[in-house]
Symmetry: C2
Subunit: 216 residues, 2 copies
């Protein structure tokens, strides 16, 4: 009888012990600041300019060291942003007020050349401004629509592969990246990503030129 009781109590103790151990491990993980759940990252700007050729020419045969005078091999908020964008394998939906930075334009063109489906919604008034990369993207075959229903289409967000949201105060301009105080938030949290996916689709559909064509 004592053996059976011992077995019963032993099993109970083992279960309780395992449960306590699991809770303890979760607590230690949380205390250590280990990431909990989906990716969440905050990027602040301005950043010092560094060489990003290694990111934009990945796959090309490059000389061992890039001869440009910029600092090399440094990770900044801007290289993080580029890495997140270049992680796209199927789609990039970009909703951007101002877009004049050439490295970001090269990144989008690289994705387009790789077969990633790129869609861009931008502000009407900004589109034609000198230095805007929108016409460069259009010439390369990127699908661009401009917002026709607002004073400003002031969003600055991107959704990568319907999975990763990049959003914040930062327009895609060199001044914003190198001179302004700006923030960007990068997350895979579905409760935050999904509303932006729906907002992009709303803007994409409502700014379809076919719907606004006078000859219908």
């Amino acid at each position: 009888m004592s053996a059976v009781r011992l077995f019963g109590l032993g099993a109970l103790a083992m279960l309780l012990g395992l449960d306590c151990l699991a809770r303890l491990l979760r607590l230690v993980r949380a205390r250590r600041g280990a990431p909990r759940g989906p990716l969440k990252e905050v990027l602040f700007f301005p950043v010092d300019i560094t060489c990003v050729e290694h990111l934009l020419r990945a796959g090309e045969a490059l000389p061992n060291s890039c001869p440009c005078p910029l600092p090399h091999g440094q990770e900044t908020s801007f290289t993080r942003l580029l890495r997140h964008l270049l992680s796209a394998s199927t789609s990039l939906d970009l909703c951007i007020f101002a877009f004049s930075n050439q490295s970001l334009s090269r990144a989008v063109l690289l994705l387009q050349a790789r077969g990633v489906v790129v869609r861009v919604v931008t502000d009407t008034s900004y589109m034609a401004i000198s230095g805007s990369q929108i016409s460069t993207l259009r010439r390369a075959g990127v699908n661009v629509r401009h917002d026709m229903g607002a004073v400003y289409m002031h969003h600055k967000f991107a959704v990568v592969d319907g999975r990763l949201l990049i959003t914040g105060s930062l327009n895609w301009t060199t001044t914003a990246i190198q001179c302004n105080k700006e923030n960007m938030l990068v997350t895979e949290e579905p409760d935050l990503v999904q509303p932006f996916i729906r907002e992009f689709q709303r803007l994409w559909d409502s700014n379809d030129p076919a719907r606004h064509c006078p000859h219908g």
Copy 2:
């Protein structure tokens, strides 16, 4: 002996059953889209203007119905924003490029009058622009510092009680709220809130006028 065995097995079955039930409940909760973990909310703009007097005069003796001609009793992204701000009980740290909306200014003054510690960092060039609420806040005793180290202090974020982050593309202007395509993200997720708390403190400290006084 069978009673003891029954007890042991019964206890085991109960523990396993409870564990399964807990897992099942979590699964159902997740499937139903119930909020997982800390608050996460996305607000989109523009919104139609509605009456917000009931929010800004809470505690005051109001007539049963507000006589103003605006629609009443509607919840919009703007009323959600006001509610989140007015939930402050100890502190509001605001880092904002452009601030001209009067309802938001009244909300900040209401918090200040309630004893909430309000600190504002804003952009130097925007501060003196006609319609800016910054001078109104200053006259009411709100602590305001202007950024002296960037081309633009382009952030648009607020931290409520060191707990709740409100950030996005939206400047605190009436045009942004009523006419532009804009977004705001509201979250209590510590991994997102903490970097913004540190950024605010960095900007607050580095723009201390005492540090820039020529007579030092």
